[in-house]
Amino acid sequence: MTAEAPTDVRVPDGAPTPGAPRTRGSGAVGRSTPPTGGGRVVALLTGYVPRRLGQALIVLWIAFTAAFVLLQALPGDAIMIRFENPELGLSPEQIADIRASYGVDDPVLIQYLHTFAGFVRGDFGYSVQSGTPVQQLIAEAFPQTLVLAAAGFVLAVLLAFAIAFLSASASFAWIRTALRSVPSLFVSVPVFWLGIVLIQSFSFRLGWVAVINPGPVEGLILPVLTLAVPIAAPIAQILTRSIDEVYTQPFVRVVQAKGASPSWVLWRNVLKNATLPTLTMAGILFGELIGGAVVTETVFGRSGIGRITEQAVAHQDTPVLQAVVLLAATAFVLINLAVDLIYPKLDPRLARQVGASR
């Protein structure tokens, strides 16, 4: 009971709804009275977090199984693609020998159990295309993608907030309309095209940053920009819309009537409420980061999970795809967990429900 409260209360449109009596409560205005802090932590550790972890494991198992079934259902298999390729000029007997040595024609259930046991042991097998251990592929690529994704995400959030602030603050009313149209412009920019345009102008024409064999920081500048822009856009859209909505709430007028300055209202009251839906959106957008990484890494020739995925999909490299799916599922599970844990921090009403039901 207790543990599920935060999930249940998560309303996509998390801004206070008109008429909800709690809206005028102290929490929304920012003078929150923290719920019994220590008790809540205990509740989280004893009930909530372990249960969420259990759920996460089930989600991962389902993702693994679904990926396995789908990859099996695809026509052909990685061994066929790799070795029946006419370019190798192998005879049918030679191919049959190799198929036997890989065990690809074993019953599907045996293969599933074998692969699953491997994953549980932390052995992801070998890439069929190149023979490289999947662990090694992931271990080399993941940090690169993580840095790219994290930097891209931070920049996207900064950009989104900058756009939202500027368009919300009265002193910039004259560029308000212009700025409001920026998010929809960004949303419609294809990552691929943006990457190429950035490379062509900043690297090839102006020569400010190298694209070929750049330094570690230099190599991040353009890819991070490319990744951040399309993600910043939807975040900014949601944020501006939420800010607008929250401004129409009665409690804002109460605060204003009490004499709060516009910046106080924005920072302490409006923004706090407007951030909730944005946070949900940001969690979902993390998926975009993975998709964006495929394109960005290919255009910029960076190594990373995106490149691995692209190569593995092209060659139907099952062991690699299986690991990538699991990695992506893990990332989603973690992000969702983080989002759910942050909610009560931003909106004490959610936290109090945890406490109240105890």
Binding site: G76, N85, E87, L90, G131, P133, I199, V211, Q316
Partner: protein, 553 residues
């Protein structure tokens, strides 16, 4: 302005010596290595930045046919014999001398005794024997395949430290050339113990050869660093450089995006790039940079007509397809002058080539007549039909070949003029691999293969090699045209050189007479380079050699 190097494009003279005459200015080693641009003595030092189109997927030499693999294997390994890319003659390299018995079933090689692998171990008869035991027999348990170039291999014998004998179960006249290809790159004993996995990306530093470069660093899927071997001193005698490579390092960076590769070259961030697409050549040339287009000298980029399919089993339909395609327009529209129009199933720069262009003339009226004759009449939608079946054929998009989709789209438009509906198959790898093995799904197969030996034609069409015509039905294992089989076997099993040439020409003529193949163009590998990169050369089918490269800056 830039010059365009069209390596080896030109007339090939065939005599007893098979000498190929180089008409255009050569871009490869030997005495032409300076080839006109930077002059003076080679300078040692510096790093060459080389952009690859795709990451390599293995360094196992028999699988080095994939260009990113071959580009590395060619520089980190040596071969027994050197095939001079200008003359296509065989010269001593690791083997100082060799002997072939009467019927080409036994080869004896004398080896240099001063060659070492980069791990310090000696390159002796023992390890050479072990190399070919693996390449000739394969090892399915380790997923290590037989080399396509080595046929009929039986066994090896180590006579002494610098003499090795290879025995074959049937004549293997192509073996000497096979020892010169990248597929026979010699690796150390420790490397030979590895499985397929051990040759994979991420393990490059453990793939030990005796070549002028060693892999010193690697980032999977992104870059490979080649470092010059200081003590390298066993280059083939005809190469100008006899010591270590001139550059200290070659930085091979994978840049999949075409526009980024070309932009990096024109903006000076890269020294050499592989795979300049035909439409980008003008941009490279316009920037005053060099274009190299070495030929691949094998079976031309062509369409194999799978005559086991009921529609294509009628020779008149096949002849109509040949007459209905304006190949000159395809070459002029989609490609550049570096892609010469094909005049036979083999390239004019290939061994054994015979000019058969009369068979491949464009004649849409004749095409229409042939189809009428065969009973295919024009339907209301402009597509011909017969007994309620429409004349629809499927061709595969050959992703590794340059601009395959664009060329096929134009061909499809041309064939629509004579009432043939040509569909292009673009699919995921699994669907694709299954479809191309089935004449019911893919009736026309787009492909090519490069190798500077007469065996190449067998590689392309023989039942247990690439089998592009599906003469052997993969489902039933039956051979549809035994005569073609016999002709191909004759190419690869005749010991006498002149007879082999005649046999290869017999295959080409047979393919032309039976309208089995529509050759499109002679496929080059196109590279772009800065003007101050000197000594850039290629092995006999267009893999880059960095050995004599030096930077004039």
């Amino acid at each position: 302005m830039s010059r365009t190097h069209r390596g080896w494009q030109g007339a090939a003279a065939f005599g007893a010596t098979l000498a190929l005459v180089l008409t255009a200015c050569g871009s490869n080693g030997g005495d032409s290595s300076g080839n006109g641009e930077p002059s003076g003595d080679p300078v040692t030092g510096g790093t060459l930045v080389y952009l690859e189109h795709q990451p390599h997927d293995t360094l196992y030499p028999p699988a080095a046919g994939f260009y990113p693999n071959g580009g590395l294997v060619n520089n980190i390994t040596d071969r027994l014999v050197y095939q001079n890319p200008e003359t296509l003659e065989f010269e001593p390299w690791i083997a100082t001398d060799w002997e072939v018995n009467e019927d080409a079933t036994q080869y004896t090689f004398d080896l240099r005794s001063d060659v070492t692998f980069s791990d310090g171990s000696a390159l002796d008869a023992e390890v050479v024997a072990a190399n070919f035991d693996l390449y000739g027999l394969g090892d399915p348990d380790r997923a290590l395949t037989v080399s396509e170039a080595v046929n009929n291999y039986a066994s090896s014998e180590v006579v002494d430290a610098d003499t090795v004998v290879f025995n074959f179960s049937a004549p293997a006249p192509g073996f000497l050339q096979a020892t010169s290809t990248i597929n026979s790159g010699l690796v150390s004993a420790s490397t030979l113990e590895g499985a397929f996995e051990d040759f994979g990306p991420g393990n490059g530093q453990n793939v030990i050869g005796s070549g002028p470069f060693v892999i010193t660093a690697e980032e999977i899927g992104t870059s490979v660093t080649l470092g010059a071997r200081e003590d390298y001193a066993w280059a083939p005698a005809s190469r100008e450089n006899q010591g270590r490579a001139y550059v200290d390092e070659v930085q091979v960076t994978v840049t999949p995006e075409d526009s980024v590769r070309v932009g990096a070259l024109t903006s000076g961030q890269a020294d050499v790039i592989r795979y300049v697409e035909a439409q980008d050549e003008a941009q490279v040339a316009g920037a005053g940079l060099e274009i190299y287009a070495p030929q691949t000298r094998g079976v031309n980029n062509s369409l194999s007509l799978r005559f086991t399919n009921p529609i294509l089993s009628d020779i008149r339909v096949r002849q109509a397809l040949i007459a209905g395609i304006d190949r000159q327009e395809v070459v002029d529209t989609i490609y550049t002058e570096n892609y010469p129009l094909a005049t036979s199933s083999l390239s004019s720069t290939a061994l054994g080539y015979e000019n058969l262009e009369d068979y491949y003339a464009f004649d849409p009226e004749r095409a229409a007549d042939l189809l009428d004759e065969a009973g295919w009449t024009l339907g209301a939608d402009g597509i011909r039909e017969k007994d309620g079946q429409s004349l629809t054929l499927v061709v595969n998009e050959a992703a590794p070949q340059p601009r395959s989709f664009e060329a096929l789209t134009l061909i499809s438009q041309q064939l629509a003029e004579i009432g043939v509906d040509l569909q292009i198959l673009r699919a995921d790898a699994g669907t694709y691999t299954e479809a191309i093995q089935d004449a019911g799904q893919v009736q026309i197969y787009h492909s090519m293969v490069g190798r500077a030996d007469l065996d190449v034609i067998k590689s392309q069409y023989y039942s247990t090699n690439r089998n592009t015509l599906l003469n052997r039905d993969p489902a039933t294992d039956t051979i549809a045209d035994p005569e073609l089989e016999a002709l191909l076997e004759a190419v690869a099993s005749e010991a006498d050189g002149d007879t082999r040439i005649a046999n290869s020409q017999a295959v080409q003529t047979y393919l032309a007479e039976n309208a089995y193949v529509i050759p499109l163009f002679e496929e080059p590998q196109v590279f772009g380079s800065q003007t101050d990169v000197a000594g850039f050369s290629f092995e006999s089918v267009g893999r880059p050699s960095f050995y004599e490269v030096w930077l004039d800056r």
